[in-house]
Subunit: 194 residues, 2 copies
């Protein structure tokens, strides 16, 4: 029991560092950039509140669990903004290789049963093939769109994003897991691009 | 549908302000104080990882949902540290009245079905009578103890807390929902107080 709790808290104390990983997106009020810890909380709340946007067969509780752990690898790798390097960096081989190594280290702090469970959940999220993972990914893409809209442009201005790029890099992924949500968000976002 | 999404996002955009509510507790590395948004994420992760510390009949998924929303009232009321005003402010009539009013406003932004669900979940947390709520409260009390231990004393030093006060204000509440967890944490905390 004691060894198990030592391992559980080694992980929970290490996870605290996600609060110091900075994202490109700002808070809704534009006052500062968001960190990946509070971003993960906000996304889990998105899942709770937007559950009616999920398709058939989606377990919101699994989606929430996924979103709670989806960014932990950023403790080692940092956040790679979706629009950075003209949209090329986020899913590059370099990034995904570094993230897999980070997952080995971070989930490896846990007792082996928990490590295996959470690692599998993270891999499911990354693969974006199950209904749960697709919905989780959709929410991860919607939240920065709302932050940009509320704060007057945000990362769209920073990275000179066009509406077509938003459709390709973000909209298409939101639509995969939550088509009606993208239809609605698109109506809000389109006018910003003029 | 459109009106419903407007209400859902009015709530989600307002909830973003929890990231600007500062707590007395610092990050594990002591670099800055924690905000209530990232704190809520960390607690939900605590529930996921420490599920084996919950008593019979506890639904970890309900505990996670509870922890995601438990501090939203702080957007209006602010965080009231457990050790502030010699331990008297946290559960004062003034605080609980202000929090109920904040819950009216904040959950009231949601569509009525969601507002009722999340308000009920928050009230269950506050009442701390069900097994789910008791376990959620235990985690809410354990996490700052770990932050204080990791950062060299934290709010115990700030508020001149004695070990007896820690037992009364914190330990007794952790023990209600997670007795074995308090036994273990106590062994870590006791030496700090000399």
């Amino acid at each position: 029991m004691t060894d198990r709790l030592e391992a559980q808290f080694a992980f929970l104390n290490e996870a605290d560092r996600l609060k110091s990983v900075l994202r490109a997106t700002t808070l809704v009020d534009g006052s500062r950039v968001e960190n990946s810890g509070e971003h993960s909380w906000h996304l889990a709340l998105y899942a709770l509140v937007l559950a009616d946007q999920a398709g058939p067969g989606v377990s919101i509780d699994r989606v929430i669990r996924m979103l709670l752990i989806h960014d932990l690898v950023e403790i080692d790798v940092g956040d790679v903004p979706i629009h950075s390097q003209n949209g090329q960096a986020h899913a590059s081989l370099e990034t995904t290789t570094a993230e897999a190594k980070a997952a080995d280290r971070i989930f490896g702090l846990l007792p082996s049963d928990l490590a295996a469970d959470l690692r599998a959940l993270w891999e499911e999220f990354e693969a974006a093939e199950t209904p749960d993972a697709r919905f989780a990914k959709s929410l991860d893409r919607v939240q920065p769109v709302m932050a940009n809209l509320m704060s007057g442009g945000g990362t769209w201005a920073t990275y000179n994003v066009t509406y077509d790029q938003l459709e390709t890099r973000v909209g298409s992924k939101i639509a995969k897991g939550a088509p009606a949500l993208w239809d609605w968000v698109k109506g809000k976002a389109r006018p910003w691009f003029g």
